[in-house]
């Protein structure tokens, strides 16, 4: 089954957050974010606090998927591993990590592309090491039998 299903515990999330924070502190980085191919934002580090990471994750996944498809239609034999966007003020790199994850890095324009690519590679390896240890875990007690009925009641109270 190819269904996207990622379950991360607190220590794994902390490891990922630390990896992104270290990346963010080495250069003029605006945003470092891990998302998956289905558009879920998993964890991020940013030097601002007003970025809509949910929407950015959805768009980054769409960008990568569209680019992969363009490559395939042009006869590309290898999967696309990196998208680079060079804007007037910043550079954005979206890298594929493993089979189903993305690592997005937004930096100031003067951060060398070579540094960013190397940083993505190293951070990607760290991410895979953490995610590789993420085994599916049993649902916590909060996901009890009456969770679904409580959720349905909550929806009725909203709409």
């Amino acid at each position: 089954m190819t269904r996207s299903q990622l379950v991360l515990g607190p220590s794994q999330l902390n490891d990922l957050r630390t990896a992104l924070a270290q990346l963010g502190q080495q250069a003029d980085v605006y945003l470092a974010m891990i998302a998956d191919f289905s558009g879920q934002d998993i964890v991020s580090w940013q030097n601002r606090h007003d970025l809509d990471t949910s929407s950015i994750a959805a768009l980054a996944a769409g960008d990568m998927m569209a680019t992969l498809e363009v490559g395939r239609m042009l006869g590309g034999k290898r999967a696309c591993n990196l998208i680079v966007q060079e804007h007037d003020e910043l550079t954005i790199l979206i890298a594929r990590v493993g089979e189903g994850l993305l690592l997005l890095l937004g930096t100031a324009k003067d951060v060398p592309l070579g540094w960013s690519r190397l940083a993505l590679k190293r951070t990607g390896d760290r991410i895979l090491a953490v995610i590789g240890s993420a085994a599916p875990s049993a649902p916590p007690p909060a996901l009890s039998d009456d969770f679904a009925s409580s959720f349905a009641a909550q929806l009725d109270s909203i709409w």
Binding site: R3, Q5, L8, A58, A138, A142, A152
Partner: protein, 195 residues
């Protein structure tokens, strides 16, 4: 699906699928307009110059805590036009449930059937079991002239056994009934899926 036990978040994805101009984007626009601002994000639309969906629409809803868990739903639409087939399959990747939006107008039956068939094909290719995968059917545009009866649409699309709702999304009728059914169906699947 992405489950973040650290923050107690269930991140779930629902895709609105259906033929061109069946009202998928209209559903999301109505949901966005009628949901309290603290529970929704921005409605992102990637459109052509003719206001048609190019890649997808996206809207995140945060439903508040239930038993110390925070369900978050990411709603997507697919582009309905025939030549965007590749995009539709890509957007279905990782989805936890589908709302199939039927255009009830008599002249659109073949488009509905084609869209339903390709959706099933994509879901199977993505590894889903159609007998258990949550698919909610919305018969939209019930307020338009020359619509087929719901019983005729059911027969033609062979959707028996799926939750089904009549709607006129432009006026909001049936939009939230459909959404709530989709969310409840997806939540119902969560426990099974993570075991």
């Amino acid at each position: 699906m992405f489950i973040n036990w650290g923050l107690g978040e269930l991140n779930l994805k629902i895709v609105y699928y259906g033929p061109a101009l069946s009202g998928k984007t209209t559903n999301l626009q109505y949901i966005h307009a009628r949901t309290p601002p603290h529970m929704r994000g921005r409605l992102i639309s990637l459109k052509t110059q003719q206001e048609r969906t190019l890649l997808f629409d996206f809207l995140q809803l945060e439903m508040g805590k239930v038993h110390n868990l925070k369900p978050k739903f990411k709603l997507y639409t697919v582009p309905g036009q025939v030549y965007y087939a590749a995009s539709r399959k890509l957007i279905l990747q990782g989805t936890d449930g589908v709302v199939f939006v039927v255009d009830s107008q008599a002249g659109r039956l073949a488009d509905n059937q084609e869209s339903w068939y390709t959706m099933e094909q994509h879901l199977v290719e993505l590894g889903h079991d159609l007998s258990t995968f949550p698919i909610i059917v919305q018969y939209n545009k019930r307020d338009m002239p020359h619509v087929l009866s719901v019983s005729e649409l059911k027969r033609q699309l062979a959707v028996d056994g799926r939750p089904q709702f009549e709607a006129a999304a432009a006026r909001g009728a049936g939009v939230f009934d459909t959404l709530k059914a989709a969310m409840n169906a997806v939540i119902g699947q969560v426990k099974t899926a993570i075991r």
